[in-house]
C-alpha cells in the first residue's frame, strides 16, 4: 500500500517528454548529417565485397588463401594464436600501468580521506594542510584525470606515433593513459560512495584518517573496485586488438591486412578468434562478479 502511494507521489510527466526529445534529437542528427536512406544499399562494388565477405562466414580459412606463401611462414592458426597472445599482452601491460596510475590518482581525486566524517584530526598543521593544500591537489588530480580519459586511446596512439615513432611501448602508453584516467575516476567515485559503517567503527577506535581510509573505506569498496577492473580488462583487450590498425602487432593488424588482400576467409578466422576471446573474458568477469556477490 505504502509502496503504491510512494509510486503515485513521484513527480511524473517527464518520461514522455524525455523519450520524445531523444527521438527528435535523433531525427535532427539524421538530417544534419545529410544522410540518404538509399546509401544504405551498397553499390555494385560494395555488393561484390558484401557477397564475397559473407559467403565465407561459415568457412573461415584454416590455411593461408594467398597462392604463394613464402617458405618458413607460420601456419595461419599459429599466427592467429600468436596475435591473440600479443593482444592480451598489450592489454595486460597497458592495464597494469593504468592500475598504478588509477590507484595513485584515484587516491588524490577522492575526497573521502580529507573531507567530512573521515578526517577528525585536531592537529593544527594537518588542518592547515587540509584547508590550503589538499583542495589544490584534489582539483589538479581531477583535471588531469579528465584530460587523460577525454582523449581516446587511438588519439593517444596517434599522438605518440607522431612524437616517438612506432614502438610497442607507445601502444601500451596509449592504452594506459586513458584507462588510468577512467580507473582513477571510477575508483575515487566508488570509494567516496562506499558505505560508512566500518569508517564509523574505526574512528570510534581512534584510527587516523589514513588508516580509516585504507582499512575502512577501501576494503569496503574493494569488491566493486575489482569488478570494475575485470570489466576494464575486457575493454582493454578490445582496444588492444584495434591498435593493430595503427601498425602494432595485435589482432587488428592481421585482420586489416587479410581484408585488404581480399582474403575474406582469413578475416573470418580472426573475427571468430576475437569473438571467442572477448566472450571468454566477458564470462570471466561476470563469473568473478557473481562469485563476489554470493
Amino acid at each position: 500500500m505504502s509502496q503504491a502511494v510512494a509510486a503515485l507521489s513521484r513527480p511524473r510527466g517527464g518520461r514522455g517528454v524525455a523519450l520524445l526529445s531523444i527521438l527528435v534529437a535523433g531525427v535532427v542528427a539524421f538530417f544534419s548529417l545529410g544522410l540518404d536512406l538509399r546509401d544504405l544499399i551498397p553499390d555494385r562494388g560494395g555488393l561484390t565485397v558484401l557477397g564475397k565477405f559473407f559467403s565465407r562466414a561459415l568457412s573461415p580459412a584454416l590455411t593461408y588463401e594467398a597462392s604463394f606463401v613464402p617458405e618458413g611462414t607460420q601456419p595461419l592458426l599459429l599466427k592467429a594464436i600468436g596475435s591473440v597472445f600479443k593482444t592480451v599482452l598489450f592489454a595486460a601491460a597497458g592495464l597494469g600501468l593504468a592500475l598504478l596510475l588509477g590507484v595513485v590518482l584515484g587516491f588524490f581525486a577522492s575526497n573521502a580521506w580529507w573531507v567530512g566524517d573521515v578526517s577528525g584530526n585536531r592537529n593544527p598543521i594537518f588542518r592547515w594542510v587540509r584547508r590550503s593544500m589538499l583542495p589544490v591537489v584534489f582539483v589538479s588530480a581531477r583535471v588531469l584525470i579528465a584530460v587523460m580519459r577525454s582523449i581516446h586511446e587511438l588519439l593517444w596512439a596517434t599522438l605518440f606515433l607522431a612524437a616517438f615513432g612506432l614502438s610497442d611501448t607507445t601502444a601500451v602508453l596509449a592504452l594506459a593513459i586513458p584507462y588510468g584516467g577512467m580507473l582513477a575516476k571510477v575508483f575515487s567515485e566508488i570509494v567516496d560512495e562506499a558505505p560508512r559503517d566500518t569508517v564509523l567503527a574505526l574512528k570510534g577506535l581512534g584510527a587516523s584518517p589514513l588508516q580509516v581510509f585504507f582499512f575502512g573505506l577501501v576494503t569496503r569498496a574493494a569488491p566493486d573496485l575489482l569488478a570494475y577492473l575485470f570489466y576494464r580488462f575486457e575493454c582493454a583487450v578490445r582496444a588492444s586488438a584495434i591498435l593493430g590498425f595503427f601498425g602494432y602487432p595485435t589482432l587488428g593488424y592481421y585482420l586489416a591486412a587479410s581484408f585488404e588482400n581480399l582474403h575474406y576467409g582469413e578475416v573470418w578466422t580472426y573475427l571468430y578468434v576475437l569473438i571467442a576471446l572477448v566472450s571468454l573474458l566477458d564470462w570471466w568477469s561476470s563469473a568473478f562478479r557473481r562469485s563476489l556477490a554470493t
Binding site: 542528427a29 553499390d43 599482452l89 582523449i151 596517434t158 599522438l159 612524437a163
Partner: protein
C-alpha cells in the same frame, strides 16, 4: 563466541596462545572464502604484472636519445605554424586557431556529435525491442504464471532457442569493437556517415540489449504475474509492464553509452568518414602537428561537453525515479 566476555575484555595482549588470539584465528578461519574470486584476481594481477616482463616494453626507451630528438622535433612542430621561430603572440595564435576551427573544427565537431546522437538513438530503438526477446522470464512457454498442464518439451525448447539466438546476437554485436564494424562497413557502403552510425549502433545494441535484458529478468515478478493473470499477452506484458518499470534504468545506460559514443565517433573519422577524426588523421598525414593537436583539443572539449550533458541527464533521471 563461547568465551567469557570478561576474559577477552580485560586482556590487551594478542600474543599467540592467548584467548584473544584464538578468537582472531577462529574468526579468520570462519571468514567467507571465495576461492574462484581469489584465484581469478591472482591470475589477473599476475597477467598485468607479468606482461611487463614478457613483452618488449621499456618506458626508459621513450627517453632514449633518438626518441628525445623525435620528441623535440615534435614539440617544435606543435607550436602554431605562424608562431614557429617567432616570439609568442596570443592574437596570432587565436587567429590561427580560429581559421582552422572555422574551416574544419566546428563542422567536424558537429558531425561527430550528430553521428553519436543518431547512433545511440538507433541503438536504443534496436536494443529496447530486441531485449524482450532475450528476456528468459518473458520468452518462455509460461511467463510468470505456471499452468496446470506442463508445456511440451518441444515448445519449451523453441522459446529457449529464441532467447539463445537473441543473446548470441548481442554477444557477437558487442564483442566486435565499433572501429572494426566501421572498417568492414566502409568497404561496403562507401565513405558516407552511415558506416560510423551503423557501427556504433551495432556495438551499442549488443551492450544495451544485454544490460536491458538482465534488468528485465531481475524485475519484481509480482506485477507482471498479475498482468499475466488478467490475460495479458507477452507483448502486452512487455509494453505495459516491463517498459515502465525498466525505463529509468534503461535511460541511465542509454546516456552512459552515449558518452562513449561521442568519444568513439571522433575516432571513427580516421577511417575516412568526415568527423573530427578525419581532420586529425588528415593533419597527421600532412605532418601538420600543430593543427592535429588543436583538433585533438577540440575533441577533448566535445567529450567534456558530452559528459556534462550526460551526467546532468542521469542525475535528473535518478531524481525523478
Amino acid at each position: 563466541m563461547s568465551t567469557d566476555p570478561k576474559d577477552t575484555g580485560g586482556s590487551t595482549t594478542t600474543a599467540p596462545g592467548s584467548t584473544r588470539w584464538q578468537q582472531i584465528t577462529t574468526l579468520r578461519r570462519q571468514r567467507p572464502r571465495r576461492r574462484f574470486a581469489t584465484r581469478s584476481l591472482a591470475l589477473l594481477l599476475a597477467l598485468l604484472v607479468g606482461a611487463w616482463f614478457v613483452g618488449n616494453f621499456h618506458l626508459d626507451d621513450l627517453i632514449a636519445t633518438k626518441r628525445i630528438e623525435n620528441l623535440r622535433r615534435f614539440a617544435n612542430e606543435v607550436t602554431p605554424y605562424p608562431l614557429q621561430g617567432q616570439p609568442f603572440d596570443l592574437g596570432t595564435a587565436l587567429t590561427w586557431a580560429h581559421e582552422i576551427m572555422m574551416e574544419k573544427g566546428w563542422s567536424g565537431a558537429g558531425k561527430t556529435l550528430a553521428i553519436s546522437v543518431l547512433a545511440i538513438v538507433l541503438a536504443g530503438l534496436f536494443s529496447s525491442t530486441l531485449s524482450f526477446f532475450g528476456t528468459r522470464t518473458l520468452v518462455s512457454p509460461e511467463p510468470f504464471i505456471t499452468s496446470l498442464r506442463p508445456p511440451s518439451k518441444i515448445r519449451a525448447a523453441g522459446w529457449r532457442a529464441v532467447v539463445g539466438f537473441t543473446r548470441a546476437t548481442f554477444v557477437v554485436a558487442r564483442s566486435i569493437p565499433a572501429y572494426l564494424w566501421a572498417f568492414l562497413l566502409v568497404s561496403m557502403l562507401g565513405p558516407t556517415a552511415w558506416p560510423a552510425v551503423l557501427a556504433l549502433a551495432l556495438h551499442n545494441t549488443g551492450i544495451l540489449g544485454k544490460l536491458t535484458a538482465e534488468v528485465n529478468e531481475n524485475l519484481d515478478a509480482k506485477p507482471l504475474a498479475a498482468l499475466r493473470g488478467m490475460g495479458a499477452s507477452r507483448s502486452q506484458i512487455a509494453l505495459f509492464g516491463m517498459i515502465p518499470l525498466t525505463l529509468p534504468r534503461f535511460l541511465l545506460f542509454f546516456f552512459y553509452r552515449w558518452e562513449t559514443c561521442v568519444r568513439q565517433a571522433t575516432v571513427l573519422g580516421m577511417l575516412g568518414i568526415v568527423s573530427l577524426g578525419f581532420w586529425i588523421q588528415d593533419a597527421r598525414a600532412r605532418n601538420y602537428y600543430d593543427e592535429m593537436v588543436l583538433l585533438i583539443l577540440a575533441s577533448v572539449v566535445l567529450v567534456l561537453v558530452g559528459d556534462v550533458v550526460s551526467i546532468a541527464m542521469r542525475e535528473l533521471i535518478r531524481r525523478r525515479s
